[in-house]
Symmetry: C2
Subunit: 329 residues, 2 copies
Amino acid sequence: MALTRRHALAGAAALAAAPLMPGLPAKAAAPIAGKQNASFYRYKVGDAEVTVISDGATTFPLGDSFVLNAKKDEVNAALEKAFRPRDKMTINFGPLVINTGGKLVVVDTGNGPAAFASSKGAVGQFASNMTAAGIDPKAIDVVVISHFHGDHVNGLLTADNQLAFPNAEVLVPAVEWKYWMDDGEMSRASGDRMVGLFKNNRRVFETGLNKKVTPYEWGKEVAPGMLAVESIGHTPGHTSYVLSSGADKVFIQSDVTNDPDLFARNPGWHLMFDQDPAQAEITRRKVYDMIAAEKLSVQGFHYPFPGLAHLEKDGSGYRWIPAPWKPVI
Amino acid sequence: MALTRRHALAGAAALAAAPLMPGLPAKAAAPIAGKQNASFYRYKVGDAEVTVISDGATTFPLGDSFVLNAKKDEVNAALEKAFRPRDKMTINFGPLVINTGGKLVVVDTGNGPAAFASSKGAVGQFASNMTAAGIDPKAIDVVVISHFHGDHVNGLLTADNQLAFPNAEVLVPAVEWKYWMDDGEMSRASGDRMVGLFKNNRRVFETGLNKKVTPYEWGKEVAPGMLAVESIGHTPGHTSYVLSSGADKVFIQSDVTNDPDLFARNPGWHLMFDQDPAQAEITRRKVYDMIAAEKLSVQGFHYPFPGLAHLEKDGSGYRWIPAPWKPVI
């Protein structure tokens, strides 16, 4: 029988008509495993070792305003172009552990234990996947926070509000720290989401961490070989990083884009979670022009796991090209 | 400091000039892990559960004749377009374990224990990654072989030449079986590679398996919901599969292409391992036209792990678009 399109389309009907091979042994069926591999992945940047540790993914109905300046039909078209289902969004979360050779550095901390419980394990996986990766939270020297949204800071605390990384110094962007801890800014916050963010940051940093953080400046190293660079718009103090070792480097973008199938392909689209969408777009275009021109690797917090990719110019946007998985480092 | 291209380019010089954050705790550096995650990945096709289990990857210098009908410069250009290094090839190997709900089915078996030893673990990882995935080789009901190349059949035997899947029926393409077991065909084999393949297949199937195999025909099910379809050219009996469950399906291509960055992008390119390159090209174009037109999922044995993708037409070839990793099934 030659291959024809019919075979791919026929489905159950043709299969029912095709006899099973004779002689298959009769025994109890093996149970469905139903459980994914622990989602962590390692790669080298020169002498440094990056472990991407998924915090999981959340799926929700696509709303009319997920992209502020595009119609839901346009967003659905972008999803379909990426062979993804219409009318729903899946957002991935990818914190990192970087071993610089001198320091063990966590970059962002995921949605945290309360989200793990309420999502039934769909998100908040950072702690369990870190354990699967053989990394002890007590061994972490430094936690670097890119910005003060819950999916980046809530993993700083355990379920009983203890420090998740008890021996780590916590580094936060100075501009971000000043903004979210400012009582005047908090009093001027409008809308449930912004008020909620201010409250959550007070919960995490004032109550949980007792303000024991070290603000960092852009243009400085936050760990050996890891330079903090300003990439504002998503939040007032949003920060990205360039990790360099020898001739090798990767641009750790944080939330310069959310989902790349939408916002790398359409850098002019404004995400509902961008606090200053116009500034976020300026940053996004500048950063992605640079990454594409220099053929840099980019590590995206909201890219599908493991989130390491290259970018190429395509029309008015960018195509993201995932790095091939290496079964051996 | 605003983000400029300089930061990404500056590298060690700029980093050396940037002072480290003060107050980092002084303690012993954490050791580099140096070990990749076990490379297995699960997804559902209707009620069936597919576990992709990497057998590893091999990297070797790009020769002048890896692609028979393209210049090395053209191949290097294709590698660079995919953000891969010039002058070397990495080939991935991805056997499957499919739980159909009724049967636990292995599809191809990887490079086997001798290759594991000689490659120092770079390939031949199927057995160890299957263990990591919690799958007992003794629980396998059926092993389906797509074709008789060493990276597909050598994992049928253990290092001491015992059956790797002792309770499984071994299903082989009838045309492939007839060809490789035919003494006349063997006597007419020319060149070291073809002679070696005949000898290896006698070693595996006559000595190791004592000819205890069940030949299967195209157009028939080899397991519940899994239809064998002819896709010849790479070998005389090369076989692909359509796995269907409910409305869901995936095209398991086996070696319709080798590396998709080369042969999906350039379906007219002829791989040095294609026994009948012209027929392999006819098959490749027919299969990929169908997959792209029907927006089918494709599972590729030589695609980068985990090897599940879609295909879209792009110019005279196809772009492969990896399916996003799901941290929860």
